[in-house]
């Protein structure tokens, strides 16, 4: 095991030059992080684009809920990495496959939370909207969305946490440049001090992402 002094040395070396580029398979931790964050951002963004409208629909319509719920329940517990071989085979591109894996893992918490948030908007508020003769669209955007926003953001926060967990594993599996690749590459070399350094970086970045969503969540929270 590396000593704390060795660890500090490794961390200093990596952090003092985070953007070095020594060839296609050897890049600084900053560049690797950018690759990972880019993939997470894309996969997560696409998932949000699908999950939030779909969740809205499911929350509004008991029929849609009844129709889709069994599928969601079956698909939700599947480890996202199990999709990887299938994704590679059908998509035929490893980068898009890892984005797909992020997409598929972050869609469920957002979908379920959105549906739940929309479904549990207080009846009184909907009735008030009705008496004021607000249209469907207006009700959706001005009553339901703000009312459900804290729950939706909780879903997004959970999803982001999972996406960040999964990207490291996906990159280790597929070997695309990124933090997961960095860990794998240093594992090849049995360089534990670099692996421990990477673990620290992954933890800190994960925490920052969570804090960002926490702040967003507070911004939309309301007092009844």
């Amino acid at each position: 095991m590396p000593t704390p002094a060795q660890l500090a040395g490794t961390a200093w070396k990596q952090l003092s030059d985070p953007f070095y580029d020594a060839g296609s398979n050897d890049k600084g931790i900053g560049i690797q992080l950018a690759y990972s964050l880019g993939r997470v951002g894309l996969g997560f963004g696409l998932a949000a684009l699908v999950a939030i409208p779909l969740g809205f629909l499911i929350g509004l319509s008991p029929l849609a809920y009844g129709a889709l719920n069994p599928f969601i329940q079956v698909l939700k517990p599947i480890s996202p990495l199990a999709w990887m071989p299938l994704a590679l085979y059908t998509i035929k591109d490893s980068t898009i496959s890892s984005i797909f894996v992020i997409f598929i893992c972050s869609i469920w918490p957002m979908l379920i939370n959105t549906a739940h948030g929309v479904a549990s908007v207080r009846r009184d508020w909907l009735n008030v909207a009705k008496t004021l003769e607000a249209g469907t669209v207006r009700t959706a955007f001005q009553v339901i969305l703000p009312a459900a926003a804290p729950t939706i953001l909780t879903g997004m926060r959970i999803s982001m946490g999972i996406a960040w967990l999964v990207i490291v594993a996906a990159e280790m599996l597929v070997g695309n440049l990124g933090v997961g690749y960095f860990v794998w590459n240093e594992w090849n070399n049995l360089s534990l001090s670099n692996v421990i350094f990477a673990i620290g970086v992954i933890g800190v970045v994960g925490m920052l992402l969570d804090l960002a969503f926490g702040a967003l969540q507070r911004a939309v929270t309301y007092v009844e």
Partner: protein, 446 residues
């Protein structure tokens, strides 16, 4: 860099090889001349392993005479002619996949040592996490060509263990270069008969490693499917698994055998060279369709790899190569580990230092007999069922005829027959009677 210095200069010291100044030196001297000198260097080093002797020879006969004498033995001109561009390259930017192991030496070293560049190719080498992935990425056309295990193009062409896609073996990357590594706790169990219940790792199902391990234990009376467990573990993860006690040993590629010794978690039980001297291991695989679409690019790639293999074949260059492929961008391994693998002077992990210059060799010709042996083992262990058209399949996949024709056209001495006969653990293999060979084994799955 010493590799590109004039070997016919009586004052030059060829033994120095730091390997770090490849690009700087390249800028200074004309590239054509460099490659020729690299070749000449390779030859001179193999003829005169001791530098003092070479200097004495050159001083006594003169550089010109020495050059002419060596050229008569070795076709520099032909190799150089091959290096000339024959047609316009269809695709300049290539993406090649590799697994970080020494088997890929010719493929990897061609980047830092400028062999690709000299052929007008801009190659990006992509490190890949495992064989299944490299197969998928090659089949998905993400890679133009790729480092593949020698049996993989056969298996992929036949659609065994994956979808079928016609693949070709352009060159064999390396021969020998693998070993059986056992965990330290088994140092008293050197006799394979005591291995009942052991868990072994191999890099992939369709690998020489799997077939050789099966062959080896079966010769000692163990049934590889019943008496031991064979698991697929990507090479880079083998040492970590051995340390964790998940496996008892592995038949894996270097540098991970030597790495286990370096990290004191295992010892080298035997080199695969001791089972079959001259067995192929990895190959440069390409999709047949890609070759048809990009014939000139393929030829350029071919020339780069042939030149690299010629340089790697010479023991004197091995230290230079070890330095060139060690950085994190390529193998990400300590230089001493790679040096021990490539030079064949190595610690076996049990306190002995062994010297076996043939530990890894680089013979690029994809001899058809090698492919037939591989198919015979696939048949033996029931990866292939029914009648196997050995010769037909191998003729399509292994480009031996092409390789020899091309070498002949370019005037390179192509050996008429395999330099080493196929003798596996004392048993000769006759490529014309593969079925009889398969049925001659006591333990088989047919």
């Amino acid at each position: 860099m010493s590799l590109f210095r004039n070997p016919f200069d009586g004052e030059t010291n060829l033994t120095c090889a730091c390997g770090r100044h490849a690009s700087q030196a390249e800028h200074d001297v004309d590239a054509e001349k460099l490659s020729r000198q690299a070749l000449e260097n390779a030859v001179m080093r193999s003829l005169f392993p001791r530098d003092a002797e070479r200097r004495r020879f050159i001083r006594s006969v003169g550089a010109g005479t020495a050059s002419a004498a060596i050229a008569s033995l070795f076709p520099f001109g032909a190799l150089e002619a091959m290096a000339q561009d024959k047609g316009k390259i269809e695709k300049k930017d290539l993406k090649l996949g590799f697994i970080p192991i020494t088997c890929a030496t010719p493929l990897i070293m061609s980047a830092p040592l400028g062999f690709y560049e000299k052929q007008g190719l801009n190659v990006t080498l992509v490190k890949t996490a495992g064989w299944a992935l490299i197969r998928d990425k090659t089949m998905n056309k993400e890679y133009d060509a790729s480092h593949l295990l020698a049996p993989m193009p056969l298996a992929i062409s036949l659609g065994v263990g994956s979808g079928a896609m016609p693949m070709q073996v352009a060159t064999i990357q390396n021969s020998n270069g693998q070993a059986i590594t056992l965990a330290m706790k088994h140092k008293d169990k050197r006799d394979p008969k005591k291995w009942k219940g052991f868990k072994f790792a191999v890099p992939f199902e369709f690998s020489m490693h799997n077939f050789l391990l099966r062959y080896y234990v079966a010769e000692h009376g163990l049934d590889p499917d019943k008496d031991i467990q064979i698991r697929v573990v990507p090479p880079p993860e083998m040492v970590a698994n051995l340390r964790a006690g998940n496996i008892d040993g592995y038949l894996g590629p270097d540098p991970f055998n030597q790495r286990a010794v370096y990290d004191q978690v295992g010892f080298i039980h035997l080199l695969t060279k001791e089972l079959w001297d001259g067995h192929p291991c990895c190959s440069l695989g390409v999709r047949s369709e890609w070759v048809k679409e990009n014939p000139n690019t393929f030829a350029a790639l071919y020339r780069a790899i042939l030149n690299a293999a010629a340089m790697a074949a010479s023991p004197g260059n091995r230290t230079t190569i070890a330095n060139a492929i060690a950085p994190a961008n390529y193998l990400n391994q300590p230089v001493p580990v790679l040096e021990q693998v490539l030079t064949g002077k190595y610690a076996d992990g049990l306190g002995d230092v062994k010297n076996d210059p043939g530990r890894i060799e680089f013979d690029p010709v994809p001899w058809n007999a090698l492919g037939i042996w591989i198919l015979s083992q696939m048949k033996r262990w029931s990866y292939l069922k029914g009648d196997v058209k050995y010769k037909e399949i191998v003729d399509q996949v292994y480009l031996m005829t092409d390789a020899k024709k091309r070498m002949k056209e370019e005037g390179i001495l192509a050996p008429a027959d395999m330099p080493k006969k196929i003798i596996v653990m004392g048993k000769a293999f006759d490529a014309s009677k593969p079925d009889a060979y398969v049925s001659s084994f006591a333990i088989k799955r047919t």
